[in-house]
């Protein structure tokens, strides 16, 4: 249950923060949620990771789909040197997931006692 609440909260907080703040506010969001809702370190990591994987993966897929993947076709050739919109969505999701995962891990250690 904690996992799902943390997951939803991390996603909501990240989304809201990014409306006003730079992209790295996802790190703060994941950190804060993990610090407020104590979980085991690995679970906290997973919460942050999955939250941003879904959030960034979901938003970028939704945007790209509405765009008929026009831009993703072009940017993927530039960025990952192949014409593959889905791989670009996956890359986006993984980058967000990694940042949020480690930040959540750090947040969990803030609260964690031995």
């Amino acid at each position: 249950m904690k996992f799902f609440i943390s997951l939803i909260l991390t996603m909501l907080l990240s989304f809201a923060a990014c409306l006003f703040l730079p992209w790295w506010s996802i790190a703060i969001a994941a950190f804060v949620v993990a610090a407020l809702i104590p979980q085991k370190p690995f679970k906290a990591f997973l919460t942050g990771f999955v939250a941003l994987f879904i959030l960034w993966g979901g938003i970028s897929f939704w945007i790209s789909n509405n765009n008929d993947h026009i831009l993703a076709h072009k940017v993927s050739q530039l960025l990952i040197k192949m014409d593959n919109p889905y791989l670009l969505v996956l890359t986006t999701a993984l980058i967000g997931a990694l940042v949020a995962g480690f930040s959540a891990l750090a947040g969990s250690y803030l609260r964690k006692t031995k």
Partner: protein, 821 residues
């Protein structure tokens, strides 16, 4: 709290964030900061415009004085209806910025020599480009133009409104809404100014009237004998059919340029050499335009056509627009960066341009007292230099400070463009050359367009175009009252024969330009008997009757074939005109083919060589996609030209003028024992047949390689592509299947060609067609980014819709934008 794991994981997180927030250099290329670039709420994903985007909006700006309504049609062309004229320019500026901001800024940064500021100096060509633009006096020229704008309250208020419109959009921009290129390169737009508009227009002058071969010709003159020089670089081509027909009587000459007495010793026979390898605007920046009168058309109304040939880029140089104000109603293409319609039509008439192409940029050698450049010798006296210190900012580095000397030559202040610190690779860094460029002179080019947009008749057109100084253009005109006209407009220096072909002495007044050709001596045609007017950058007049010297290098073939076709046509429909505009017949090749075939010694050829001769024989001299003839001809001709001339050039300086393309054809047609045919490096005397056959054998080797690479088809060999302005291939449209070539009316080459095709039939209800190789939205993530490209490549057109206020319910309307005060 577990302090150690906390610190470690916090450090990892921080390192991740910092790394992803930094622009890294990967494999030698600077990459965007991945975090912000990939973030779906900040980065490039934000530029992925939904394909169902509607663009409806309701905006309020206190800068407006009335109401403006914009209807975007299904091709995303805005139809601007404004209660006040200047409000229309505000909205045009806003829309240009909304759809083309990055390009507007990039082009003006290029014009002002500021590319190092955004791109850095990793590639040394970038700083050299910037220095070249500054030293040519681009900013100096734009500042002079701006002073003229400020003296003209009408134009100034139009520019002010336009600039405010651009800035209103820039102010509304959030980081996530920035055009993709800013995110990739990593910078932000600055405020637009009227100076930027002036800079953009000067960039067009650079592109269209910034070319010269003075150093190349100077080298050629020093290297060749006088006779050979005249032979290789004739002032007139045999196939020339001038814009203003032979036999036209011109106004009485009022300016009499006189060559200095010592012209032979210090100029024509001077053996000095300059060395050059500079990059210059495209040699073929040209165009076609013509108008046929009602007597030749099926409808009885005139038809006007224009297709300006320029470098092809995405986003396009052009942006289609309709502007409707109480004073006028005009439709056509505009320049993102300037107010008004540039090429188009209104409710009474239509107008279009081709480049005049005359030499309006000459170099003078300057003698300084010493290397400090503080004083220069002029008319036997030492005169004080003024300096312009240019600070060229460089990304991530200290600025480069360039000080350019300005000298006064007669009444003109000219930058000493080439000196010991900068030769542009055109001289040996030992001498000083000042540039006298017509684009430095005060003029008010925007006035032409605001006047043309509201022109009702020939008189209005004439009054408008006489404001055109530089770049000089052949301006075509047709009106609903049946008038057609073409004026070879511009303010041109009145030159004595040969003046400015080579670098000139600048030590006194004797070699300076002696005045301008008076406007009433500008050659023109108004309702000529032949029923049409046309221009295709060929020499405007016949040398024997026009009193002023017009230089030597003009492309003859497009003009020749257009005139021939128009002469023969009658009962013309707009569809006939579209077919002519996209015609791929190569008139130059057609003149050469008979002597190629008749001189080919086929018995000397093997089977595979013979195959290519058969392709040539079957070729109809049309540069069509899907055919192999044009490729075989092109490769054969290149080898033939080299075989004929390379021996003459064997000991030439590194960079030197090559003969004009038409020379070889003209020379052989006049005399099959053309002087240069013999290879002077061999003991025997080669004949035309030897040279043709030898060239074919060499070409066959190259053709086999081309064929093996699957590129024998003309469109594949030519490889027409429309590159993104920053040369990013995924953002470009490469390898288009399209015909055409440099000598065809459809002058589509690899990265250069008809940048806008337009056909206007001036019937009671105007019928108009147009297309350009691009799309209305400069956003790479928009479906409108390149939406016209396929239509253009196929040689097809869109009907142009001059919308009326009663048509607001029309199903072609995609969206409505309201601008309120």
């Amino acid at each position: 709290m577990r302090i150690v794991p906390f610190l470690i994981t916090t450090a990892i997180s921080a390192a991740l964030v910092i790394t992803l927030n930094t622009r890294l250099t990967i494999a030698g290329n600077e990459a965007p900061a991945f975090g912000s670039f990939l973030s779906p709420q900040h980065g490039f994903w934000q530029n992925a415009e939904p394909v169902s985007e509607k663009f409806n909006s309701d905006l309020t700006f206190q800068q407006l004085t009335g109401k403006v309504e914009v209807y975007l049609d299904e091709r995303l062309v805005p139809h601007i209806f404004a209660e006040q004229e200047n409000d229309a320019y505000f909205v045009q500026g806003f829309l240009h910025a909304k759809f083309r901001l990055w390009q507007m800024e990039f082009q003006t940064h290029a014009a002002g020599g500021r590319l190092s500021e955004i791109l850095g100096d990793k590639d040394p060509r970038i700083l050299n480009f910037d220095r070249n633009m500054r030293r040519l006096g681009m900013v100096y020229a734009a500042e002079i133009a701006l002073q003229e704008v400020n003296k003209d309250p009408v134009i100034k208020s139009a520019c002010d409104a336009y600039t405010k419109g651009v800035n209103a959009y820039i102010e509304s921009l959030t980081t996530s809404a920035l055009p993709l290129e800013y995110k990739l390169i990593g910078y932000k737009p600055e405020k637009w100014t009227n100076l930027k508009t002036s800079l953009f227009l000067k960039y067009m002058s650079y592109d269209l009237a910034g070319r010269d071969d003075d150093f190349e010709l100077t080298n050629a003159k020093s290297y060749f004998s006088a006779g050979d020089f005249m032979n290789l670089f004739p002032a007139i081509q045999d196939s020339l059919d001038p814009i203003i027909p032979k036999g036209t009587v011109f106004e009485k000459q009022k300016v009499f340029p006189v060559a200095p007495l010592n012209v032979d010793s210090v100029y024509f026979n001077n053996q000095d050499q300059a060395f050059t390898e500079s990059t210059k605007p495209d040699h073929d920046n040209g165009s076609n335009n013509w108008a046929v009168s009602g007597s030749k058309t099926k409808s009885g109304a005139p038809i006007l056509c224009n297709d300006p040939h320029l470098g092809l880029n995405l986003p396009s140089l052009w942006y289609e627009v309709q502007i409707s104000t109480p004073a006028y109603n005009a439709y056509g293409v505009s320049f993102p960066g300037a107010p008004g319609v540039i090429i188009g039509y209104n409710d009474s008439c239509a107008f279009g341009f081709t480049n005049g192409g005359r030499d309006v940029k000459d170099y003078f050698e300057i003698q300084f007292k010493d290397d400090t450049r503080q004083e220069y010798s002029f008319n036997g006296q030492w005169v004080k230099t003024t300096f312009r210190v240019d600070t060229i900012k460089i990304k991530n580095k200290a600025a480069f400070i360039d000080s350019v000397a300005y000298v006064q030559l007669g009444n003109d202040i000219c930058p000493v463009m080439y000196d010991k610190s900068f030769s542009g690779n055109r001289s040996a860094n030992q001498k000083y050359y000042a540039v006298r460029w017509k684009a430095h002179d005060a003029s008010n080019e925007l006035k032409i367009f605001t006047m043309l947009n509201r022109a009702k008749n020939y008189g209005d057109y004439q009054a408008a175009v006489t404001n055109l100084h530089t770049p000089g253009q052949n301006v075509v005109f047709a009106a609903k009252n049946g008038d057609i006209a073409l004026r070879t407009q511009g303010e041109w220096p009145a030159k004595w024969k040969g003046q400015g072909d080579f670098v000139m002495p600048g030590y006194d007044t004797s070699f300076l330009w002696q005045g301008m050709i008076p406007q009433d001596e500008v050659p023109y045609q108004y309702n000529p008997e032949r029923g049409f007017v046309s221009s295709a950058n060929q020499k405007p007049v016949d040398d024997n009757t026009y009193p002023y010297y017009l230089g030597r290098d003009y492309p003859p073939y497009r003009g020749y074939i257009i005139n021939k076709r128009l002469n023969a046509m009658s009962n013309i429909t707009p569809q006939d005109m579209m077919a002519l505009q996209t015609d791929n017949f190569d008139a130059g090749a057609a003149m050469a083919m008979p002597f190629i075939i008749s001189n080919m010694k086929e018995s000397d050829l093997n089977a595979s060589e013979k195959k290519y001769v058969d392709i040539l024989k079957a070729w109809d001299c049309r540069d069509e996609a899907g055919t192999t003839g044009p490729t075989v001809f092109e490769i054969f001709w290149t080898n033939f030209e080299h075989a004929v001339y390379d021996d003459e050039y064997a000991k030439a300086p590194k960079v030197i003028m090559r003969p004009f393309w038409s020379n070889l054809v003209d020379g052989i047609l006049k005399d099959s024992a053309y002087k240069f045919l013999d290879n002077t490096l061999t003991p025997q005397t080669e004949t035309l047949a030897d040279m043709v056959t030898g060239a074919l054998k060499k070409a066959a080797v190259e053709l086999q390689q081309v064929e093996a690479a699957g590129k024998l088809n003309w469109e594949k060999y030519k490889g027409t592509g429309i590159k993104h302005l920053a040369k990013l291939v995924p953002f470009s449209r490469m390898d288009l299947v399209t015909g055409g070539g440099g000598r065809a009316i459809n002058a589509t080459k690899s990265d250069h060609g008809p940048s806008w095709r337009m056909v206007i039939s001036l019937t009671a209800q105007t019928e108009a067609w147009g297309v350009y190789p691009g799309g209305q939205n400069g956003n790479i993530g928009s479906k409108y980014y390149d939406s016209f490209v396929d239509q253009w490549a196929a040689g097809k057109y869109y009907p142009l819709w001059m919308m009326t206020k009663e048509q607001t319910g029309d199903k072609r309307i995609l969206a409505k934008m309201s601008f309120n005060k």
